[in-house]
């Protein structure tokens, strides 16, 4: 029995036991359903072993939506607990666990896969390629991310959630103050997912540099491809830092080293420094592709080309460089001195310049445009003022002297939600609505979509604007309650109502998917939005080889110029197409990684050794494998093309 005691939840409650039962029942239901409907073979052949970038993209999307709801439930619980003074819905420990998992889930397991979904689905189409550079590696990236996310998510029912904040600062995250295995989960699960992300970065840089359609020079790439390219460069430079950091954290917690300890020479603030050397570029990994999506959407629905293409690219490059030079602004109050603080203040404020350039470029794109207000465009139009507000409060926080008042208050919480929700989340929802027809062959309902956009915006304003005020009044973040005499009660109630409105918005998204799946017309063209870039030049649904003939490009908006100026981009005859074979190794290897991670969390060294060997065996098998892919014949292409053209 002693062996099993370690898996018990250290701080249980009824809700946790209820979730355990619910998760157990869901798993049983899914397994039973797959068996009853005889879908195991389909699942294995078409999804678990796929190396097709479009399918991998859709799997990222499903994971991101699931995690959005997990993180959303966390958010609602926090707002409910704070909605009135001295509430006892959650105790301090549960509140700690919930704000920790909310942060990690939303950033690493919701926003990141959402970005990965767009990169996977859109980029090969946008640059006219058949797939990414390393399709098999791409599958491995997804499955490692997925297993990392799942490992993180089981923490709250097996062994206890991490509870030291998403930043997991030492010494709080050390063994002395975080006694459960929760923080081990943090270290290992993020490590596994992070390896996947790093490989995605390598994969997409190679893809974008080497696999563009003939004629598409770097300065003729669509803006989303540019933004994703820069984000991937940041990934490759930032994620190894995270890997080392998490490894050192693991060593400290499980092997007794002294990197971040309080004695034996350890330096606790070293964690905070290295964390933000990764952490700040990470937020630009999220926001740059979002900017890219807005650029595509705004230029499509303003019915004109993007204003200031080169300055858009230049400002993103500048942002990516500056992102590595601002990390200390996360702890101005640490006491590193006035000179250091001033330098980091200036670099931080400098980021507002290229970001401002982008805002003005979007505004100037809208000027003289013939604006069509569709759901994606509505999100983009709401994004511009709301995000600018977040940017302005960011500049306020960047002033290190003033930061002593804002530091660790709800003001900060309001700021970063103010940039992440209108910046990233709105972009994801706008992009989802925009690319939905390309993925599934029907459009999401516009009426419900616009309602959602408005509800989310109003809910967002009600949720987060009050926090600016309570934060300036001194309400600390991460406190599970406050007394009535502080006077924070009414504004927190407004926040809670706002959170409820946002929740309705997110439920409406699900309803919209259901409604549109049932009722939307399947009779749409390949280009329902009258868009401008290559991804709309192929059929809907996209055939597995993407383009029957590789497009030849000689302008930025190749597809628009084909439609309006009569450029010919598909020249020549069909040729047989080389495609990669499916493989089970990425999935199996990632499952082994999951067991490895789980055993590591609980310091079960024998399974750790066995699974480590298993992982290397998978790599060796891959090395010795002789797989040259397969060819799609010309007849097959002709057949597919005729069928898709007829539909």
């Amino acid at each position: 029995m002693d062996f099993f005691e370690r898996f018990a939840v250290p701080h249980p409650s009824f809700a946790i036991y209820a979730s355990m039962v619910a998760i157990g029942l869901t798993v049983v239901a899914v397994l039973a359903g797959l068996t009853y409907f005889k879908k195991w073979g389909y699942l294995w052949r078409e999804w678990l072993t796929t190396v097709d970038h479009k399918r991998i993209g859709i799997m990222y999307l499903i994971s991101a939506l699931l995690m959005l709801f997990r993180g959303g439930v966390d958010a609602i619980m926090m707002r409910a607990q704070l909605s009135a003074p001295d509430l006892k819905l959650l105790d301090a420990q549960h509140y700690n666990e919930i704000f920790t998992t909310h942060g990690i889930v939303m950033i690493l397991f919701m926003a990141m896969p959402f970005i990965m979904f767009f990169m996977n689905f859109v980029i090969p189409l946008q640059i006219g390629a058949r797939d990414v550079a390393f399709p098999r590696l791409n599958a491995l990236s997804f499955w490692l991310f997925f297993m990392g996310a799942m490992l993180f998510n089981i923490s709250f029912i097996i062994g206890g959630s991490p509870d030291a904040g998403w930043t997991s600062y030492f010494p709080l995250a050390g063994n002395e103050f975080s006694t459960s295995v929760g923080t081990n989960y943090y270290m290992i699960a993020i490590q596994i997912a992070g390896i996947g992300t790093l490989m995605t970065g390598i994969n997409f840089i190679t893809t974008i540099l080497k696999m563009r359609a003939p004629g598409m020079t770097l300065l003729k790439m669509p803006m989303f491809t540019w933004s994703a390219f820069i984000a991937n460069v940041i990934i490759v430079f930032a994620f190894p830092v995270l890997a080392v950091l998490l490894a050192m954290g693991t060593l400290d917690r499980q092997f007794g080293t002294n990197f971040f300890t309080m004695d034996n020479g350890g330096m606790d603030m070293l964690w905070a420094n290295i964390f933000w050397v990764w952490g700040h570029p990470e937020v630009y990994i999220l926001i740059l592709p979002a900017f890219g999506l807005y650029s595509e959407i705004i230029s499509t629905f303003a019915r004109r080309n993007l204003y200031g293409y080169k300055s858009m690219v230049g400002s993103m490059v500048l942002i990516s460089l500056l992102s590595f030079l601002v990390w200390a602004h996360h702890f101005f109050t640490m006491g590193q001195g006035a000179l250091t603080n001033s330098i980091f203040s200036i670099t931080t404020m400098a980021i507002a310049v290229p970001t401002g350039v982008k805002i003005f470029n979007w505004l100037l794109t809208l000027r003289k445009g013939k604006i069509v207000i569709t759901t994606p465009m509505l999100y983009s139009l709401l994004f511009i003022p709301l995000f600018t507000l977040g940017g302005v409060t960011g500049v306020m926080l960047a002033m290190s002297a003033a930061d002593y008042q804002y530091h660790n208050t709800m003001f900060l919480v309001a700021h970063f939600h103010n940039v992440i929700i209108p910046g990233v989340v709105f972009a994801m929802l706008a992009g989802l609505t925009y690319y939905w027809p390309k993925m599934f062959g029907f459009m999401l309902n516009e009426r419900i979509g616009k309602w959602t956009a408005w509800l989310l915006s109003i809910g967002f304003i009600l949720s987060f604007m009050p926090m600016y005020i309570t934060g300036l009044d001194g309400q600390a973040r991460r406190m599970f309650t406050y007394s009535e005499s502080t006077g924070f009660g009414p504004l927190n109630m407004v926040s809670f109502i706002g959170a409820g409105i946002m929740a309705i918005g997110f439920v409406l998204i699900v309803y919209n998917i259901y409604y549109s799946t049932r009722y939307a017309s399947r009779n749409i063209s390949n280009d329902p939005w009258d868009a401008r870039t290559l991804e709309w030049a192929t059929h809907t649904p996209v055939p597995e080889y993407n383009f029957a003939i590789t497009p030849q490009v000689n302008s930025i908006e190749a597809f628009w110029d084909m439609k309006k100026k009569g450029h010919v981009i598909f020249k020549g005859e069909y040729e047989k197409i080389h495609m990669p074979n499916n493989s089970g190794i990425p999935f199996i290897m990632s499952c082994i990684f999951f067991v490895w991670g789980f055993s590591f969390v609980f310091s079960l060294w024998i399974p750790v050794i066995v699974t480590t060997i298993g992982i290397f065996v998978c790599m060796a098998l891959r090395s010795f494998e002789n797989d040259h892919g397969r060819y799609i014949s010309v007849e097959e292409i002709e057949e597919t093309e005729t069928r898709l053209r007829g539909a």
């Binding site: 390393f134 540099l209 696999m211 930032a238 950091l245 080293t257 002294n258 034996n264 020479g265 330096m267």
Partner: protein, 198 residues
């Protein structure tokens, strides 16, 4: 598979070119990984908590032997790639095996070195300095160890399948990896050992 015969075998197909570029980008990530370790090392190098310092535990002899072994192995892997480009399979395999044996000897001396450190009271848990010292050296050592297995698999494949675009590509990428580990070692040698002994 389209082949371009004007290029060396390892670059001859589109897929091969992608893999080489991808690996260069991976090496960029590896540079960041070691840069983080070095930055941490320089931060914590003075924090010995009354325990052993670098000057107290470093021994020049094993470190010089390790350096010699690894630098020579980098030279032999270069000769191996040269032989590969001349199409001389046997010579190439010979040079690769020499490389791997030198790498193995390096690991042997490094293990001896680690045992020595623990013996003189500089274990992983002693102080912040020893933690980062052994973690940095260990990370490099694990890289070399993985390289040994990887190199062995590649030798076996070249031996069985001959010099094809695929095996040549793998061998070339392996040589990039091996040279990279050598460069990291030069940094370790200069900035950890030599600087520490001064």
């Amino acid at each position: 598979m389209k082949m371009d015969h004007s290029l060396p075998l390892e670059y001859s197909t589109e897929e091969n070119k992608l893999k080489i570029l991808g690996f260069w980008i991976f090496l960029g990530a590896e540079i960041m990984l070691f840069a983080t370790l070095f930055a941490t090392y320089f931060t914590l190098v003075g924090r010995t908590a009354g325990g052993p310092t670098g000057a107290g535990i470093f021994e020049i002899t094993p470190v010089l032997i390790e350096t010699l072994l690894l630098l020579t192995s980098s030279f032999t892997v270069g000769l191996g790639i040269h032989a590969m480009r001349l199409g001389r399979k046997k010579a190439m395999i010979g040079f690769f095996i020499t490389t791997l044996l030198l790498g193995l000897a390096f690991i042997g001396v490094e293990i001896y070195e680690f045992v020595h450190y623990v013996h003189v009271g500089a274990g992983l848990q002693t102080s912040a300095f020893t933690s980062i010292l052994l973690t940095t050296l260990g990370t490099h050592g694990i890289h070399v160890t993985i390289g040994l297995f990887w190199g062995l698999f590649i030798v076996l494949q070249v031996w069985k399948r001959g010099l094809t675009p695929q095996t040549a590509n793998k061998s070339f990428i392996f040589s990039l990896y091996w040279h990279f580990l050598d460069i990291i070692w030069i940094f370790i040698f200069s900035f950890i050992y030599l600087k520490g002994m001064m």
